[in-house]
């Protein structure tokens, strides 16, 4: 089976004060369709850097990121944007909802960016909000929602365009433990529906919910 995403000898060196900080050092990994992978490691280990590279938000210093058999190095900025729009969903630690848009409009936004016709995107956005348990909160602004509700909206937004890969960067990092568990339960539910998920966390309990756990330390993946 072709992996959804894989990396080959992936390096990322951040320039700093005339030298370079090696955030990733020759990472090789492959994520198969339907997997739920957790990347765990201490702060500064390079797990978020890896997630950014996998999400086409950053470019490697050397090595390759291959999405469904296509090397992202060959992608233009517009093609990378389209990839993020249609194929990859993001869930951020601090939710990153647009504060001026309602929950519904936030979920609808990626559909609009993907130029999905109105007759399709309205029911899709509504269906997603119902799926994440916010059917009654569609017209609320982010500031009127709790942290857990905001993260649910963010998950719904990430799923809007049926992405092949869902990337989540510390999705429970800003939530209390009870709400965090609810969010992980929601991600598991989404995974059971067939969604490939890759999640970054430094919480062992959260990582334990994944099918596969990859430990990142000093820019390399261990076992």
């Amino acid at each position: 089976m072709t992996p959804i995403i894989e990396t080959r000898d992936l390096w990322k060196i951040h320039p700093m004060d005339g030298t370079g900080v090696e955030a990733l050092r020759g990472v090789n990994l492959a994520v198969e369709p339907g997997e739920f992978v957790a990347l765990v490691g201490p702060s500064g280990s390079g797990k978020s850097t890896l997630l950014h590279l996998l999400g086409a938000m950053d470019t490697p210093t050397r090595g390759e990121v291959v999405f469904e058999g296509k090397n992202l190095a060959a992608f233009s900025d517009g093609e990378r944007t389209q990839l993020r729009c249609r194929q990859i969903g993001f869930v951020f630690q601090t939710f990153n909802l647009l504060p001026t848009l309602t929950a519904f409009q936030n979920v609808e936004l990626p559909l609009r960016l993907a130029r999905v016709p109105t007759r399709e995107r309205i029911p899709r956005a509504r269906e997603l909000l119902i799926q994440v348990g916010l059917g009654a909160r569609t017209n609320h602004l982010p500031r009127q929602l709790s942290g857990g509700e905001r993260q649910r909206v963010a998950i719904a937004r990430a799923l809007a365009n049926h992405p092949k890969l869902l990337l989540a960067d510390e999705p429970t990092g800003n939530l209390d433990s009870v709400t965090g568990k609810e969010i992980i339960a929601l991600l598991q539910e989404v995974h059971r529906a067939g969604q490939t998920i890759m999640l970054v966390t430094h919480n062992a309990d959260v990582a334990a919910q994944a099918n596969r756990v990859l430990h990142v330390r000093d820019g390399v993946i261990g076992t």
């Binding site: 978020s48 950014h52 999400g55 938000m57 950053d58 900025d77 517009g78 944007t81 389209q82 993020r84 729009c85 249609r86 993001f90 951020f92 630690q93 601090t94 990153n96 909802l97 647009l98 504060p99 001026t100 848009l101 936004l109 990626p110 960016l113 993907a114 937004r157 990430a158 365009n161 960067d169």
Partner: protein, 372 residues
């Protein structure tokens, strides 16, 4: 993305209102300076229109109106005896300024013109009286005045009132309708003999207004007068036009600089406001980029915001210039001219928005995460 731009405007009310206010003031200033220039130009051209086919002869080196000119009345009579003159349109005149004008290109706020009885049409053409009469009686010997529209207001006088001119009580016998010539509006016209007496100018006049039978003969007659009276100054409509243009050059340049400054201010305000707005929204823009908004989508969003702010500020700013034009009694700016001013503000806004929009479009999606 237009709805997002509107939401951004509404979400930052104070910033948006300040920006709209700055654009409004800029457009108002532009509209006002254009109105002022319009007013100066129309005043000048209507003023000069009545000198078509006329020649002023005055003391050498004096300006117009010839307040500082003095020529012998006998010389004036000699000039008036010249062939090919239109006798009704020709008269010796006395000019005395009563109050200085507030604007540099205007002759005075109020002035007295002494004119020969029966020659009033040479001075104000066919302007009718708003009250009283518009011409002196041929046998009038008293100190009487016919006031221009503005002079009436200046003296706060009505027909039958006495007004003080150089310590002499002068009776108002007529007030003229508003004329297109401001020098008529601001004048208190009195019979020539009366003016000579009141201002102790017996035997002298300020200038001779020479009307010609045929407009085409103006250069020939002007040349003949220059030759016959080399010490006097012979001024034609063309000379006046040149003088007026020279006088108007500085105020009009000043107005244009004001106008340009207003645009620069609008440009700077919009640029600084939008740079700050983009800076504040780096995380939001980064999020948009991260979830699939293309660079040009962000560019359009920021530009849409700028255009909306300039239109919302520009339209009331343009409308505000209308009372100004009405107050100055000048030609109202046409809808096309107002649209042009608003369009210029939009151009200034768009230029001011180029850098912030470019900066917004270049926001890296990673910013959404870095700002955590």
């Amino acid at each position: 993305m237009f709805d997002l731009a509107i939401k951004n405007i509404l979400a930052r009310k104070t910033r948006s209102l300040l920006c709209i206010f700055a654009v409004m003031v800029s457009v108002y200033l532009n509209g006002s300076t254009a109105t002022m220039n319009n007013w100066m130009y129309t005043t000048m051209t209507s003023e000069l229109a009545r000198y078509m086919g006329k020649i002023y002869v005055q003391q050498g080196g004096s300006s117009y109106p010839p307040f500082d000119s003095s020529i012998a009345e006998a010389t004036a009579q000699e000039i008036l005896a010249h062939d090919d003159l239109n006798s009704v349109q020709s008269t010796p005149l006395i000019f005395v300024r009563l109050a200085r004008a507030m604007m540099p290109f205007m002759p005075a706020q109020a002035m007295v013109i002494g004119v020969m009885q029966g020659k009033e049409p040479a001075l104000w053409g066919r302007v009718e009286a708003a009250s009283g009469v518009n011409a002196f009686a041929p046998d009038e010997r008293g100190d009487v005045a016919i006031l221009g529209d503005k002079a009436g207001s200046y003296f706060n006088a009505r027909v039958g009132d006495n007004i003080p001119i150089n310590n002499t009580e002068v009776r108002v016998i007529g007030i003229l309708q508003r004329s297109s010539m401001d020098s008529v509006n601001i004048a208190a016209a009195v019979p020539l003999a009366s003016a000579q007496r009141i201002f102790a100018k017996e035997g002298t006049v300020s200038a001779v207004l020479v009307g010609v039978q045929d407009v085409n003969n103006v250069p020939t007659i002007a040349d003949a007068l220059k030759r016959d009276y080399p010490l006097l100054q012979v001024v034609t409509q063309d000379d006046m036009l040149k003088d007026a243009q020279a006088v108007l050059k500085m105020p009009m340049l000043y107005m244009s600089v004001m106008s340009l400054t207003a645009f620069i201010v609008a440009f700077a305000v919009i640029m600084s406001t939008m740079v700050m707005a983009v800076f504040e929204r780096t995380r939001e823009i980064g999020t948009l980029r991260a979830i699939g908004a293309e660079a040009h989508t962000i560019l359009v969003m920021v530009f849409a915001e700028i255009v909306m702010l300039t239109v919302v500020g520009g339209i009331p700013g343009a409308i505000l210039t209308l009372p100004m034009a009405t107050m100055m009694n000048t030609i109202l700016p046409s809808p096309g001219q107002l649209a042009q001013i608003v369009l210029l503000a939009i151009v200034a806004g768009a230029l001011g928005g180029l850098y912030p929009a470019w900066r917004a479009a270049r926001v890296n999606p990673l910013e959404a995460l870095r700002y955590e």
